[in-house]
Symmetry: C2
Subunit: 252 residues, 2 copies
């Protein structure tokens, strides 16, 4: 009998956080919560490597199975970054982290036309509000950033690759106006999720010119503090882009 017959008391109740809480039953969950706590409390600073699994199993007196399940959960939540053969790296949670952790499902849904459509329309909705706000309350700095981004955009009209980047940057400024960390995160998420469907076209300097003009119109409306005009210009801009994508996709 070389294997202990652990008849009962399989879970020796870790010393830390003895609260059974709402725990339904999973064992790894407790570990997950504790590690979450350590990340939140700063005991595990951002960018730090998690202790090796063997150490963790000591600390929590749990089997490696459970430890690795916990780590996997953490990873899929985006709280740690787990590259194939490396130690998981702690990533302090932020809205960007949260958003990127849904990337998987979203990409799945992006395979349906309706998914892209819903997402893109939601983007239009957001940016409509954004430009309105910019028109009514953008500060000097935002205006300057917009102006600069616009200049970069103009300079890149001939180079579609660079143009795309400056295009993104211009819209990015809009997302920074509210000063709410959610919006920049949302912006990069939109770009990540939608860009695969854009790159397939968007190679004609023709369009670049059009898009630049649209950006300029938006900028001007913001300068003139005219929310309605800004919103209208943005709608024209994004709607026409949508038409292009739709055509490229030959889904009448």
């Amino acid at each position: 009998m070389d294997r202990p017959n652990y008849s009962a008391e399989t879970r020796p109740a870790p010393s830390e956080d003895p609260a059974p809480g709402p725990s339904g039953g999973r064992a790894a969950d407790a570990i997950v919560r504790q590690i979450q706590g350590r990340i939140l409390s700063g005991a595990l600073p951002d960018k730090a490597a998690l202790p090796p699994e063997r150490k963790l199993m000591e600390e929590f007196s749990a089997s490696r199975t459970v430890i690795r399940e916990a780590v996997a959960a953490l990873a899929s939540q985006g709280l740690v970054e787990a590259r194939p053969r490396h130690r998981p790296i702690v990533r302090r949670p932020g809205f960007d982290t949260a958003l990127s952790s849904v990337g998987g499902i979203i990409s799945m849904m992006m395979q349906q036309r309706s998914g892209v459509e819903s997402l893109y329309f939601s983007r239009i909705f957001i940016e409509r509000g954004l430009v309105r706000d910019a028109a009514t309350s953008a500060g000097r700095d935002h205006i300057a950033a917009l102006k600069s981004a616009l200049a970069d955009n103009k300079a890149a009209i001939e180079d579609s690759g660079a143009f795309y980047a400056t295009d993104v940057a211009f819209h990015g400024v809009l997302y920074s106006v509210p000063g709410n960390p959610i919006f920049p995160a949302l912006h990069t998420a939109y770009v990540d999720w939608l860009s695969p469907h854009w790159n397939k076209m968007m190679s004609q300097p023709e369009r670049n010119k059009l898009n630049y003009a649209a950006h300029e119109a938006i900028y001007r409306a913001i300068l003139e503090r005219d929310p309605d005009a800004a919103e209208a210009a943005l709608i024209r801009h994004l709607d026409s882009a949508w038409q292009d994508v739709r055509n490229t996709f030959e889904l009448g």
Copy 2:
């Protein structure tokens, strides 16, 4: 020698989906992708139970470890619902699924007042756009739904529990106006994430009365197709609610 010495060829390359693709190295990932595919293709219909892990390990000729890792990943992505001791249930991916799968991280962030603040302000931002749209383009049906929700809301003024529900429902109608599935999903997400911070107060019929009046103002502005008035009323409504929460939280 009762344990085979698998010297090499640890991964016998599953027959299905032989594309190595961008696979970095994880083994469970392949399984995950295949199951995702089956869900997407309908081979695994919504609400269906996943085959038992032992069957899956046959099918993919992988160890249970890998299988269960894959299932866990699927679960944390929200593609399957894995209750403690039950078979995982397939859930066709939707924006609601995606949103709810980030609930974990978001709740973590909600422990910081800055998190609650960012999230709540983003909600105000969204609803501002929503009421504007409702004012300009709400159809007969939406107006009717709004009216009905408003009536329910009024009838529940005395019962704080019921009032909260009708409050949520009223705002919910707003989220249904664009006809974009993202918004209803977003609404329930907001409610889920924010409500824990609301329940602590919101027990005074005093506030209920105020809130009902605000809802009525919004409704009226929408009826009169006045986006600016609707937006203003909404801002007053949500801002005052925010003040209450802040006070309740004694974070002066």
